[in-house]
Subunit: 202 residues, 2 copies
């Protein structure tokens, strides 16, 4: 089993490799990857060796081969359907966001409980009523959700998503969700990254 701390690094490896591909780079090596990621070359080699023998000493790695291998490892060779709950400012931004394409995800449904928003068209989506959330998300077999409701609603909505069969939640709301241990939760918290930067400011 790969330690979670290694798994957490792999999406960044994939992201950097996809940038390199856009830059028409065909091969790379652990030093170049390490420089771009701010990780030591030794760490890169150690991480990648957990998944197989990818590069011979001195010849480096094939960018395409690493991308394909990481997409398989991270389970993103297809597009996971995402349900977005909360069609306010953040929900609107996510409904329009082009950054999901080609990286393994597509927003598939958007929900809100505000009658002024239900039935409204946002990008390619018609906002659904959260009264129908469990039935519709179950029927569509969606397992991944993005939670963009107010903090006061987040726990209750997360519990409904779990009843609907969702097992992975990315929450933007500034509260800690209390969910069964088999449900994965990640948080978007810009403060963590801001504080990482202020450490280095005067």
């Amino acid at each position: 089993k790969i330690p979670d701390i290694v798994v957490a690094r792999l999406p960044r490896y994939l992201q950097v490799l996809q940038h390199m591909k856009q830059e028409k780079l065909v091969t790379t090596n652990s030093k170049v990857l390490g420089d771009r990621l701010g990780i030591s070359a030794a760490q890169i080699r150690k991480d990648l060796s957990q998944f197989g023998e990818f590069g011979k000493q001195g010849t480096g790695y094939s960018v395409d081969f690493l991308i394909n291998t990481l997409r398989v490892i991270l389970n993103v060779t297809d597009a996971w359907k995402i349900v977005v709950v909360g069609a306010g400012d953040l929900g609107h931004a996510l409904a329009h966001y082009q950054g999901f394409t080609n990286r393994g995800f597509q927003v598939s449904m958007v929900f809100d409980n505000d009658p002024r928003l239900i039935g409204k068209q946002i990008g390619a989506f018609t906002v659904q009523d959260t009264a129908d959330l469990i039935d519709k998300v179950r029927a569509a077999e969606i397992h991944v959700a993005m939670l963009t409701v107010p903090a006061s609603a987040a726990q209750k909505v997360a519990e409904e998503l779990v009843k609907a069969g969702v097992t992975a939640i990315l929450s933007y709301a500034p509260i800690v969700l209390n969910l069964p241990h088999n449900i994965q939760v990640q948080y978007i918290d810009p403060i963590l990254q801001l504080q990482h930067m202020t450490y280095y400011l005067e």
Copy 2:
């Protein structure tokens, strides 16, 4: 000098400790902290030992003392002023976000180049014209920015922010910014966290 990989962990330590304080916990130890963070107790002790002797073996750490120490280390004992550029859906969400308070940041100015938005009130802010960005951000001595403009505008706006004296940028736009090495850049990329979770899904 503390390795950056350790610095990157400290905001999460502070966040977890602040949750514990909200839960009325007065002391903690490396095992409890480690469980909450998904990090080994040994790693926690090693990280904290870089900053001083905080806990005696067996007595654990004072939650308040660790919070105050981490706030000093991360340089967030005051509130850093933030400029938000791009007053669309994401910019609106950030202008209203209550999650900055008590964690060392406050949004101070919001800019856009769309005449329909300039002069508009969003929460506590009046949207300013990006034509005045460099002058106004300089005058207000703002060094931290959040970039919520379209990908096509992000590089140019980032360069203007640098001219305005900004040295730390948190960007939501899905492109890599090419800036001088002394400028810190972090990215909000939800895909990285989604891919971390899909690794564990069937």
